[in-house]
Structures are given as structure tokens and as C-alpha cells.
Chain length 134, copies 4
């Protein structure tokens, strides 16, 4: 997998069912995205310096097994394809050998000033190259 | 729409982009679900008394426009269909006339003791009847 | 009490102990603050138009009884005093007749541009007048 | 300092002011507490096996400087004293040489079954010994 990152589930991220509250997996996707910009562009701030930012256009998640307090989650994945103005990130959340959650997130690139949809800048496209799924 | 509920966006629910952090829309779906159990079963606790609970199996969300601090969001929707052991809730988040987010959430019914998938109890099926989309 | 506001505890705001995660009470304080600006200045945005904002300087909280899912919390209180550049808000969280949490929060007024400490503008001081505790 | 732990500020933990939302520092305290149980008892689950849990009785926090997205926060501290049924944890949040936040949190020990206040078990008292501030 071109991308891999680990995080540990916090107590306050679990709900009264004793499992990770589902919305927190979408928050974990955003933690992964920060690491993806670090790996591809140096940092999220360096992405912003190219004059673009991203917003989430679509999020599709499948929950297979619950996460639990103190689990170390391994988040793996990469980009499925880079479109003209958007890119789809596919992530798999594992705990050891178990697959807990699959997430497909479509990010839309927008101009930092106008927040209008823009083409992915060439420098960003090059940065994301090593993160493409085979 | 069989279901409608309003909530006001909190300051801490917005991120450094000044818009509602995307994961919070999935948290808002859960707020809607609590109201759905109140409307259909009397309360979430009364659902639990039937011996079942639900877990999220799938969440598919489309983000069309950003939500902002202090927006009053109108969450409307209902169930698309009731399967044997799962049900899909469709929700639309509006701010006035604008559609911000669409969410399709598939809930799986599980036994409260074993957390195994179970058939939707008849009493729950009857309670959810008025919440079916046309 | 000069200020009163109600909110309902969400499922995702409770942790694996089945009670409101303590940090969420500090988030609820911020919900109250938004309503305080609405009541005193018309809205938080109208506060910002005076050229100042506030940051939390100190938060002192006593937790007497746990909050639970679906509780309707009544948040009451007001300002203890208005200093030159800061003001202390005292809030009490009730569920029916029970007192759950007491919070004293010192807000520091800062210039919107420089984020330096500034005197409370006269118009803000007048707006907060009706919110002073006896 | 007897206790030290690092964490990186997430994007979604910052609010529209572009700084760490104040309530999240109280959530960070809980992350530190999990690590404190790991260091002193092996894990939080092993604390629970002694038949006790803790609840927050009091939280007193001073906010000196704002935290920002992607900051690596160093959380240092230890226990001020161990009372009969409660213990006060003092934590300091640093970013490099800067002190951002000070937190004093009084934890009350409760019986796992009844949630009544109980004396700190001897095995817990021994575990926390190395975490006492000089």
C-alpha cells in the first residue's frame, strides 16, 4: 500500500455502546489526509501555498467490525485515480489482521480565494503520483 | 417527508476552514436517529427493550454545499426500505432552500446480548412504518 | 438567573462509561456563550463587528453528578463581574432539580486583528449589563 | 517530570478561529490519563480489574497560548498528592519551549459496581507512586 499510518483509539472516541462512534472514523480519515499531504507535499501548509485546498465531495464508508478503546488502528490506502478536479482516496482500517472499515472519499480541489472548483495543479499531481494504487 | 428535525450548528463543530467539519454531518445523522426512535418507538431506550439495537453498516454521503456556524439545519428524510435485518435511512440536510448534504445510512439490527445480526422485530417494523419514504 | 438555555445530550457525547464525556461540558459552555452573544449583542457576528473577540483564559469546573444520554440540560448563569479586559461567566448545569456541573469561565477580550488583549468596548459592556449576576 | 506524552493536533480539533478548540484540551487530558494508567497499572483495563474506576471531580485549566493545527504538544506532569479517595493530576501542555495550557484535574475513585466513592486501592496507590510530583 502506498500509504500507511497508525493511530490509537481514545476513550472519548467510543460511545455508550463501548465501540468507536461511527462519525469518528470519518474524523480519522481526515487525520490520514493530513499525513498524506505531509508525505506528498511536505505538509498541508505547502499544499495551500500552491493556491488550492480540498473539500470532501463524497464519503462512502462500510463498517465491517467495531473498533474499540485503545485499539491501534492501521490505516492503509492510496488514490484510486486522479481526475481533472477531484481525486478519490481509498482507505482500509485494520486492527491486526481484521478489516474494520473501508472508506472511499472523493476530494474536490478548490481555489483558496474563491472556493471554486479548479484543476489539480501539476505540482500536486506529481506529489500524489507515488500515492496511486497499482 | 416523514421525518424532519432542526439543529443549529455549534462553533466548535466548524473547523479552521470556517465550515462544518465533514465528520460532524455523520454525527448529526446520529442525532437524527435518536429523534427517529423517539418518533417511532417512544424513545431509543424503548427500542432497546425489544432486545435489539442497530449498528451502522454503511454510510454514503454527498457534500454539495458547506454548512456554517450558527446555521439552522433542517434534516429531512425517511427509510427507503426495510430489509430483513437492515434498513436504509435517507436524509437531506437543508439550510433554507439550499441542499447541503445527502446521506444514505444502512443500519443493521443486532441482538443486544450477542451483537449478532437479527431480523427486525415486528413491533419495530410497525413503528418504522410511518417513516417509510413514498 | 439572567441567562438560561436548554440542550439535549446526544448519544455520541457519552463515552464508554455511558455518561457525558467530561470534555463535552466545556463544549456545552461554548454553546451557551453563542446564546449569550445572541442575547446581549444580537449575534456573535455582531460582537465581531465591534472589532473584538474573546478567548478562554481560565476554565474551572466542578462535576457533581454525571449527565446521561438524552438528558435535557438546563444551563443557567451569568457574569460575575466585568473586569477591564476580561469577564467571568458562571454557569450551572441542571437536570430537573439536580445540579450536575458548575463552571466558571474567564474570557479575555482580544483585538480581532492583533489578538492582543483589549479593554471591553463600551457597547459590549452595555450589552452584557443585563447578564450580570445580582 | 514523572509523566510525559506527545500528541499532534488534528485539523478537526481546531475551530473557526484556527486554534485548538478549548474543550479539546480537556479531551487531551483524558488521552494523557489513558497513558498514565498504562504506565502505572499496565493498562486502564488492569485498573478496572482492581474493582475501581475514576471520574473527574474537578477540572481547573489555564489557557496561556493557543495551540495550532499540526502542533506537536508535549504533555508533562504527575500527581500532586494522593488523598484517601481522590488524586489530583497536574499537567502542563508545551509546544517546544512555550507553555500553552496548565491543567489540574481531581479524579475521584469510585466502585465499579455501585459508582460510590471508595478508597484508593493499595495496588493502585503503589502503581501511582512513581508518578508523584517531587
Amino acid at each position: 500500500m502506498p500509504f500507511s499510518h497508525e493511530l490509537r483509539v481514545r476513550y472519548g472516541e467510543c460511545d455508550a455502546q463501548g465501540i468507536v462512534f461511527n462519525a469518528n472514523f470519518l474524523a480519522f480519515v481526515d487525520v490520514a489526509l493530513t499525513e498524506i499531504w505531509r508525505q506528498s507535499m511536505g505538509s498541508y501548509d505547502l499544499l495551500l501555498e500552491t493556491g488550492v485546498d480540498t473539500v470532501v465531495g463524497e464519503a462512502n464508508m462500510r463498517f465491517l467490525l467495531p473498533g474499540r478503546f485503545d485499539d491501534v488502528l492501521r490505516i492503509e490506502g492510496g488514490f484510486d485515480d486522479l481526475g481533472t478536479t477531484s481525486a478519490t482516496l481509498r482507505l482500509w482500517f485494520h486492527r491486526g489482521d481484521e478489516l474494520l472499515v473501508e472508506a472511499d472519499i472523493r476530494y474536490v480541489f478548490v481555489d483558496l480565494g474563491s472556493w471554486e472548483k479548479v484543476e489539480i495543479p501539476e505540482v500536486v499531481r506529481r506529489g500524489l503520483g507515488p500515492l496511486l494504487l497499482g
